[in-house]
Symmetry: C2
Subunit: 257 residues, 2 copies
Amino acid sequence: MELSLVPIDNIPMVEPGDDLLTLILAGLDSMGAALADGDVLVLAQKIVSKAENRYVNLNDIVPSEAAIKLGLEVDKDPRKVQVILDESNEVVRKRPGVLIVEHRLGFVAANAGIDQSNIHQAGIDGDDLCLLLPLDPDASAAALRQAILDRLGLQVAVIINDSIGRAWRMGTVGLAIGVAGMTALEDYIGGEDIYGRELLVTQVAAADELAAGASLVMGQTTEKAPVVLVRGYQAKVPAGPEGVQPLLRPKAMDMFR
Amino acid sequence: MELSLVPIDNIPMVEPGDDLLTLILAGLDSMGAALADGDVLVLAQKIVSKAENRYVNLNDIVPSEAAIKLGLEVDKDPRKVQVILDESNEVVRKRPGVLIVEHRLGFVAANAGIDQSNIHQAGIDGDDLCLLLPLDPDASAAALRQAILDRLGLQVAVIINDSIGRAWRMGTVGLAIGVAGMTALEDYIGGEDIYGRELLVTQVAAADELAAGASLVMGQTTEKAPVVLVRGYQAKVPAGPEGVQPLLRPKAMDMFR
C-alpha cells in the first residue's frame, strides 16, 4: 500500500457559513486534481469550526464562581475557564496555564481544544475571541462524505483532525476527532502472525495514524493547507456510522486519569 | 509539501547479523526505485532488533523473587516479567496481563516493548522466545544514516518506529523510538500566527507523526513491508545528534504517571 498525502493548499480563509466542499473542490480543480473513489480527505478542525461558526466572544461570557476560583488557581482568564468547563465533562488534571479535561466529545485534551491562534473576527479583539471544536465532528465528517457521494457519486472517507498533546511525550500529534466512511480502529483480534501464533497487539488506531501523517503535511504555523488528500489507503468501511467512538478509551478502562 | 510513503515490501526475513542497508537497497532496486537526498527511511523496530540479535530465550532466565511475586500478581510468566524489569527503569502501572513501564530508553510502553509475535528461532518454542527493543535505537538509526552517507553519498534521515499503546485512547499508533538526521520535535516557540498573535501550541512531534503514517503503510499483521520510504518531507536537520530524546517528556513534567 503506497500512500500519497497531498496538501490542498489554496483554500481561502474560511468564514462562517462557507460550504467546505465547494472550497475543497475549487482548490483541487485549481491544482488540476480531482477526488476519486477510495480517497480520504483529512480536514483541519479549525476550518470546520470556522465554517460552523463556533466562535465565542469572551465578552459575552459571565464566569461562574467556580470558573473564577479555578481561573485564579491556574492563572487563566475566568471567562475562558468558563468556556472550557462548558465544553467538558470533567477536569482531569490542572496546573498553571493549563486544564486537561475530558471533552464533552469524550476525548482528553488540554483546554478542551479551544483555540485562539489563526482566528479573526471583525470588531473583536484577538484576546477575546475563541474557537470551539465542532459541535459534532463525526456528524460534520459524515455530512461532507454524504455531500461528496451526492454531488460526485464518489465514496470518500473523511477525517477531521486536531493537534493534541499527549501523556508521556512532548509535542502535539494530529489525532482524529471526527471520522466517516472508514473504520477508525482496525481490529485484528483472533488474527495470527506469520508463524501461526495468536497476535497480542491487535488494535491499530488507523484514523489517528492517518490524522498524524496529514497533520505533518498541513504544517502548523500557517493555515495554508487545511485539507489533505490521502490516496492509496485501503479504507475498511464500517457497517454502520461508527465514527470516532472506537478510538476513545472508556474511563473505567483507563489507568491514566 | 506533498508526502509519499512507499512500502519496501520485498525484504526477506531478517536474521541476526544481517546488514539492513544491503537488504533495503536490494529491495528498492527490485522495485526500480532508489534513495535520494532528503528521503526519510522508517524502519520497523522488529527488523532492527532481529538484525541486532536481541532475542531472549526465556529458558535462560532465572526470575528473581520480585519477578515471581509480580508475575503472580499480574498473571504473567515470571521469566517474562524478569525480562521486562531488566529492560525498565520502573513500573508505572500494572494490571492482569500487562505491565506499563518506563523503558530504560525513557519512554512509557506496555511490557517494555517486548514482542513475541512474528519471531522465530530454530529449536526454541515460540512461547519461550522474546525479542527486545534495540539496545540503542538512536545509535542504530545514526549508524544506518552514516552508512548511507558513506556508501551512496546521500543525506537520508532515519526513524525506527514501534506500535505503542496510549493513555486515553484505544489502539496502538506508530511512534519514533530512534531518530537520526532530522529534528524529532519541531519547535515554533516565539512564532506568530497569520494575525501576528503569539502561537500557543508550539511543539510538534514531527518524528512521531512520520512514524505513525509509516506504521499504517507497514501494516500490522505481516512483516511484509518493514521499511517505508518517505519522500517529500522537508526534514529540519539538527545541529547535533539529538535523536529521540526531545520527544520524551521528563517525568517531573508529566502529570500522567
